[in-house]
Symmetry: C3
Subunit: 355 residues, 3 copies
């Protein structure tokens, strides 16, 4: 069902995007077409990556998921960097972090909790992820914020580059830990069965078709993203929104909509391990892979991007992490914990809207 909707959206949205941008349709209409097309294409990219991952086996598959999982955000951000919109990039990174931690996990806990009184997920994974969240957000994002107060631009950039390299290295080490040295060590019986079943899982598409779809949809996302970022300024003015609000809330939701949907579906099926993995795993990928890669890529452009967020951005990420760490610490969820996360998201949304 959802797949059919996304197919329709793609085959109508992408041609309209091309025609509309060439014929200079009204910016607001273009903005909406672009957003919907990207949401649909993101679902194709996700499914192609998933299929490839199954074909390639768990190790290479895990690596593929870890690299392409947030490809859409990466592509939009690269075009934003190229356009010199560093503020939008940092804002959309922030938005992805709080969106995944609070909105995706919150909706999953809430919707799943309406059906099941208590839902369990692997407490070892939750604690492993908590450690990484603390490292990435509380250490690696907070330190440059504070230290850069007494640094000139060059030093701030050096510090950002150093931290970015360490973030990527630790992200790769985390994959190595999870896929090689400690694969299955912390698995519960239930998840073991799931993993075994998973081995027999049939990919949706074959290898060739997956690669083709991945390539085509990546190209399409790239084309549309380049046009999308140039509509931000206009849309912000038209709605009276700040660029910060567009970056933190709109771009983040557009870039992650497909993932959001699948996390909630998983929660509703009581597969909380997968729902949590999508929400928290995606956050970690943004913070430990997408963000540092963008810092390093920005060295190729005219405007370099240091790893220094605005204070409201940093504080929302820090408090989201602390809230999530405390809530997920017991490996259990219910509707009220979901509502708490959603309430936190709404508070931050109001904040960014008014800023």
């Amino acid at each position: 069902m959802t797949n059919k909707i996304f197919m329709l959206m793609t085959f109508i949205g992408v041609p309209l995007s091309v025609i509309g941008s060439l014929m200079h349709w009204p910016t607001m209409i273009l903005f909406i077409i672009y957003c919907l097309s990207i949401v649909a294409l993101a679902s194709y990219m996700g499914r192609a990556t998933e299929s490839l991952a199954i074909v390639a086996g768990p190790r290479i598959g895990g690596l593929l998921n870890a690299t392409f999982g947030n490809a859409v955000e990466l592509i939009i951000s690269i075009f934003s960097l190229k356009a010199g919109l560093i503020g939008v990039v940092l804002a959309s990174l922030t938005g992805s972090v709080i969106g995944n931690l609070l909105l995706v996990a919150g909706l999953s806990f809430f919707v799943g909790g309406l059906k099941f009184k208590r839902q369990l997920f692997n407490v070892h994974d939750a604690r492993h992820n908590s450690g990484l969240l603390m490292f990435a957000i509380i250490v690696a994002f907070v330190i440059p914020e504070i230290f850069s107060m007494n640094m000139n631009e060059t030093k701030t950039l050096s510090l950002s580059v150093g931290i970015s390299i360490i973030l990527i290295a630790l992200y790769l080490a985390a994959l190595f830990f999870k896929l090689v040295t400690h694969r299955g060590v912390y698995q519960t019986e239930e998840s073991e069965t799931a993993a075994e079943n998973g081995h027999h899982e049939e990919p949706e598409w074959g290898k060739g078709k997956s690669i083709l779809i991945l390539l085509l949809s990546t190209l399409a996302v790239a084309y549309i993203s380049e046009n999308l970022v140039h509509t931000f300024h206009y849309v912000a003015e038209a709605f009276g929104w700040t660029e910060l609000f567009i970056g933190v809330i709109i771009v983040a939701i557009v870039g992650n909509a497909a993932e959001h949907a699948s996390a909630i579906v998983m929660a509703y099926k009581n597969k909380m391990d997968i729902a949590v993995e999508i929400a928290v795993g995606s956050t970690l990928q943004i913070a430990m892979f997408v963000a540092p890669v963008l810092v390093l890529l920005s060295l190729l452009f005219e405007k370099k991007m240091p790893l220094v967020f605005t204070l409201p951005e940093l504080i929302t990420m820090v408090t989201s992490v602390l809230l999530m760490v405390v809530i997920s610490n017991d490996g259990e969820s219910n509707w009220f914990e979901g509502l708490t996360l959603l309430a936190a998201y709404i508070i931050m949304g109001i904040g960014f809207y008014l800023l």
Copy 2:
């Protein structure tokens, strides 16, 4: 015993308050009479609420406790708002939060720990409360502080009102969770037995008498509070105290003295679930109900109150919550954990005294 003392204090204190205020006795003497009378009246209000709660059954009773539990602070604060003393209101909210988390819980852990080597309390409730503490203090109080730095007054007030509504909504949802959808789900065997025994508990007073006492003592507290807030300025000058110190330490202790006493008695009887519930539950009530209600009520007065604390106030609340979350996380207490909380309270007290 304690009840008799409170009775004496009431029947001497309340008339003296009226006579003294009409005859313009020295402010310092009035301040002391007012404080002692409120301490005594608060105990009456607490017992009347308790009796009503037993008569009304657990659901309505829980609601009653949740609404009237901090009625005294609410009343004092409303009169402070009316007098335009916004600084005192925010300070006394801060004082109630750190007083309940550090002083009440600290004394309970310490006194209980002198008698019992290890005391256990429901770890599920502790974690549920930790999540709410994180939400209320770390998210809902920190966000407006940071965001308001770049906002004008109107926007800060809008943000405060929005957050207040969400806080109250989540507080009601938490009651619904606890009293309806998940009643008894996380109960330990021991607490189940306690709850069953609780059902047979005899109310101290009948329904009519409880309502009468609640009404009369509320009226008396209101009358005295109105006079009390006008003595603050004088007392501050006389003792060389700051208004901040009066709000954070003195008002908070006066408003919560009765609760303090009963939490400690419960800890001494090894009923740690109740002791922790009084300390942490009362904190949550202040942060998620009293504080946002005061923000909304302030819209009716000339001086509006945004949900923006001073930095020392915010930091003491944040660090108190973090300390409490880590200490209560294992569902166990001992005298040393109590002493740690008390030491934190003393440090903050010195800080506010010197500020």
Copy 3:
């Protein structure tokens, strides 16, 4: 083996230190000789304290370890205070805190984790220590930082003195808790056996010899430290380092090298309880004993030292504690958790280098 190397280093390094300082050798060479000599002497002091502790029995022994465990840092810091180098003292306290929490624990977890898939340590002790870390760093170090922003120097110093007294008192109470009222209460079976075996442990040296060695090496450390602190300024300039970097990274490593070595050896032998105790116990000793004692001692010197760190120092300590609390919370470690702590240390090291 290591002992022999330290013996050689001592019997060559100490005479060279004396001769070199009298003959005014090049500062850079002196700096290196001083550092190596102190590393070696610290190992002697550690072993002498250990022997005395065994002879004296667990209670007095625990007290001895708790007082003399960081004697080297204390001595270096006293001479820095005397020289008016308050910035260096605060920096080296910071360095000891983050060095023990991130570098020592990180290396222990990592090296131990290369050999063992999962390593366990006493989860009760870990949580007890987490509570103390939160109290010492998050409450007692953060409060004066924030409150002093609106205080004059005299009040800041009063607050610092008050907090220092409370820190020392709570540190003594923690010893009383651990060695008297709750000795063995939280012990696992394994650690009980270890403790029993420990009772039969043979001291390396007798009582007299231990005291003599402790005395002589303390004197030598004192002599060398006094000379060492005067080389800092020169070394900083020569290498283009800041004094902050010297304090935080170099002094902290020199002062703790011997402890570092023994923690890692213990982890490699899978004695994680001891490794964690060295790392976290030493941090607590620095924060709750050495730091406040130095604040109080500074009252005797011309330049008083308030308990107010620079913002980068405070934030690195706070984030280190939060990271450690979350990582150690489950009483389990592996190589990846070690690597995470090390990565955090490297990020902070780069930050202080560039500052």
